[in-house]
Symmetry: C2
Subunit: 502 residues, 2 copies
């Protein structure tokens, strides 16, 4: 066993290194690569992906797993070794089940579809995109079918992002929150609109915004000796190893919040990755447990911390100092209300906390029904409109503001959207537990101190990496599996207070 | 043949892509990587090197070459295909002859030696470094011996950087130039010293220096849509493909010339790589012909162009505009003399054009004698002192200013130094030919125009990539193999004029 385990780790180390190299290339592509580098960069990325895939799907890995699994019963279920074998097996089974031909076809179809989608969105022309999306849906069905039997054809897709989570669980959770969030949004819409126009005046120096974001990320606990921040069109976090977890952001002179909150969000992702146990280094376990768990971290720092009164009690005076032009005469309370303004909108990425999940549920329902062939691609624009009107009371006039707004489907990403909403729920569930265990948390945050919060997250979430499934991890941390109540309670309390609903 | 050639290109493409990925990782390491990334980055680089090596040294490549070589007689010697097969064979034979054990031992010995060398240089303690260098020399001898029979044991080392060039040829050339350059330097030392102190006043804004360098590189023809410039401790050029050739530099407020000339130098390297024929893309031929040819390009733009009166006739007024503080009262002629000041010094990297080659010859002689066991590592400090006194009339008091000054030997790089001097010679030999074929060149440069020069280089040097050996390429371009006369004539004319020697 020792020898086989060492060999497996060796192979996984090499694959991790290759994937990390891929991540470096991809980061460079989005930050510094000159235009002329695109064509060859695509070749480089393809070469590394192919090598990584071949090495991971090799018969040797299968044989090592077969022989190591005989020893698993003698290991503690929570030991690093048992988890390594279990997680590697799960990934191995998934990856080796997919024929190379399907992988190649999917890559080629989605590559073309992305270009078409860009044009279709610009022209708001769904008909243009439709045949590509039809092909993608059918390829995703073909992919999912490889993993039958399943409870639901959407399960294998969801599992790619949330290991072990079932469509039925997501449906149950979403069905609980949807009416409540809808009702909340409806109530808010009866109240006077909050004025947040001062946030969008062209008065906010970009370098100062950048520096402020850096300060906040440092206060949260982002370790700059193991990371850095660069500018990109779309913010993201990327990991080249435990010693190098980078974030990106963008800042706009006429938007005080966009850059800052995206820095908080990405720092949340990055702090998670920086906190994974060093013992798991350079293996499949040196990763987040799932996208939802990842999102629970980013959304916690962005929203539960970064959009809280406690946080701004400490930071607002500092912000005012830096941006006295734009914030002159704005009280802390009005600032707090402005950054938490609820306004149903057509575009998910700009959605506030109260409406965000409703966008997600719409997509989840459409994806699920598409996979089941309950609905057809051709009906998507109309179904999208109907659901938007129903859930958010806003109705897109153009498909570019509707069904064409997200990049995900053109990339063939199905099963991903729910993780955003589940991440929100998990963030609140953890928050409830943290506050129970750290009664002084609110006061610490009012003093700009986050180390107890960080320690809790390090201990309960970060260090475990990908050892446990999202449900297992949430249960270990909070005592129960993912549940919607804490998030609903959080929303109702926060927005009830802001909008005087209670 | 078609099929085998396509397959060979395929394999070479993939290897090129992996090597390009390695170059990106290495660039990032020197530009933006946070400190914490070092350990895992080393693993990533090692993983990619190993894969690239395995793929290149695979039996399949050998079989493809064997079968393709049967068709070579039917191909034109200068065709891309014949060259591809010839160059790949040369590399294949070299790489496959080296046992993996030796490669690993060499990597480990030199990795340790570099750390020791850094400390030894800081303490000026050669005794510390000596055992490591002894081991390295013996490993290099072992390496060279793998390629016996040869005319000289130094030949296989030289060949790694200058395919086909022989130690005897280098010796012959160096023996011709050494006395002449020594005599020139001696004559100059009898003349009044040039005042260049104004170049080293802390009056030169770094950003302005940067911008000026960018302008000059653009004027030379460096294509910024296929490259970029970043800051590093040591300037370098790196290639990720024909569409992405990057340079780096550093600028100091109290040194007007360091940043600018290093930008010119690196732009020279980069313009070469950007000019390789697209037909050779992603193969072993998409590379410089040799290090000396590469250096001939960088030194041409840096010295024959960048340190010429013609160049500054156009650019000096622009420089004065940007740096009126530091250059107030400095005439164009005094500026020109200052940037061409000759002063024998202990340190190679700071050497002027007249003394530079003498540094190189010293190292070449020592390396050659070490390989032949004519001298011992223990005698190096003393031999270094004697030669410095003899060739340059300056004598290091400390080994840190002498035998410990260069990083090369600690990295195990033997055979590399001569390429610097040969590059200088080639630059002048090409320059002589270019001026004969482009009689208006001097006038163009005085107008800040370089396009005819660039076209000539593109046609005669750049586009060929690594198709021809350095000697072949120089002969094709100038009508004769590498010869020392043009460089000697250039030096004598330029410095005779500046120092009034004639």
């Amino acid at each position: 066993m020792e020898k086989n385990l060492a060999r497996l780790k060796n192979v996984l180390n090499e694959i991790y290194d290759i994937n990390a190299a891929t991540a470096v290339l991809s980061w460079d592509q989005q930050t510094y690569m000159p235009k002329g580098g695109a064509e060859e960069r695509a070749c480089q990325l393809a070469a590394l992906s192919k090598i990584s895939h071949e090495k991971f799907c090799s018969p040797e890995v299968g044989q090592l797993l077969n022989s190591l699994e005989k020893s698993v019963p003698s290991l503690s279920r929570e030991s690093d070794e048992a988890c390594l074998i279990r997680v590697t097996r799960h990934l191995y089974n998934k990856k080796t089940k997919v024929p190379a031909k399907l992988v190649a076809e999917f890559a080629s179809v989605t590559s073309i579809a992305q270009t078409v989608w860009e044009e279709a969105r610009a022209k708001s022309d769904f008909a243009m995109f439709r045949p590509h999306l039809e092909k993608i849906v059918s390829l995703r069905q073909e992919y999912a079918a490889l993993f039958s039997p399943y409870d639901h054809i959407y399960d294998p897709l969801l599992d790619d992002f949330e290991p072990g989570l079932k469509t039925a669980e997501v449906s149950r959770i979403f069905n609980e929150i949807k009416p409540e969030q809808s009702r909340l949004v409806e109530k808010i819409s009866g109240k006077p609109e909050i004025n947040n126009s001062f946030l969008f005046k062209p008065l906010y120096d970009e370098q100062r915004q950048w520096d402020f974001g850096v300060k906040v990320a440092s206060a949260f606990g982002y370790d700059w000796t193991r990371g850095r921040q660069d500018r990109t069109a779309h913010p993201f976090t990327t990991t080249f190893g435990q010693g190098d977890v980078r974030i990106t952001t963008r800042v706009f002179k006429d938007n005080l919040m966009s850059g800052l909150f995206s820095t908080m969000h990405e720092a949340g992702h990055a702090i998670y990755e920086q906190g994974i146990s060093r013992l798991l280094k350079r293996t499949v376990l040196s990763d987040g447990a799932s996208l939802a768990i990842h999102e629970s971290q980013s959304r916690m720092w962005e929203n539960l911390v970064g959009r809280s009164r406690d946080f701004w009690t400490y930071f607002y005076p500092k912000l005012m100092e830096k941006f006295s032009d734009g914030l002159a005469g704005v009280s802390m309370e009005n600032f707090y209300r402005a950054i938490n303004k609820v306004k149903p909108s057509l575009i998910r990425v700009e959605a506030d906390e109260a409406t965000y999940n409703l966008h997600i549920m719409l997509r989840f329902e459409l994806e699920k029904d598409l996979m089941e062939n309950k609905i057809q691609v051709k009906d998507l624009p109309e179904l999208w409109r109907i659901k938007m009107c129903e859930y958010l009371n806003v109705c897109p006039e153009k498909d570019s503001d509707g069904v064409l707004q997200d990049v995900h489907w053109s990339c063939g990403i199905f099963g991903y959207f729910p993780t955003y909403a589940i991440g929100n729920l998990v963030s609140a569930q953890l928050w409830e537990k943290i506050n129970a265990e750290l009664p002084g948390l609110s006061g610490s945050i009012r003093n700009g101190e986050f180390k107890h919060l960080l320690s809790w997250l390090r201990d309960k979430i970060h260090r475990h990496g990908a050892k446990f499934s999202p449900q297992e991890l949430v249960k270990k941390a909070t005592g129960s599996e993912i549940r919607p109540e804490p998030y609903l309670a959080y929303l109702k309390k926060k927005f009830g207070d802001i909008y005087g609903l209670n």
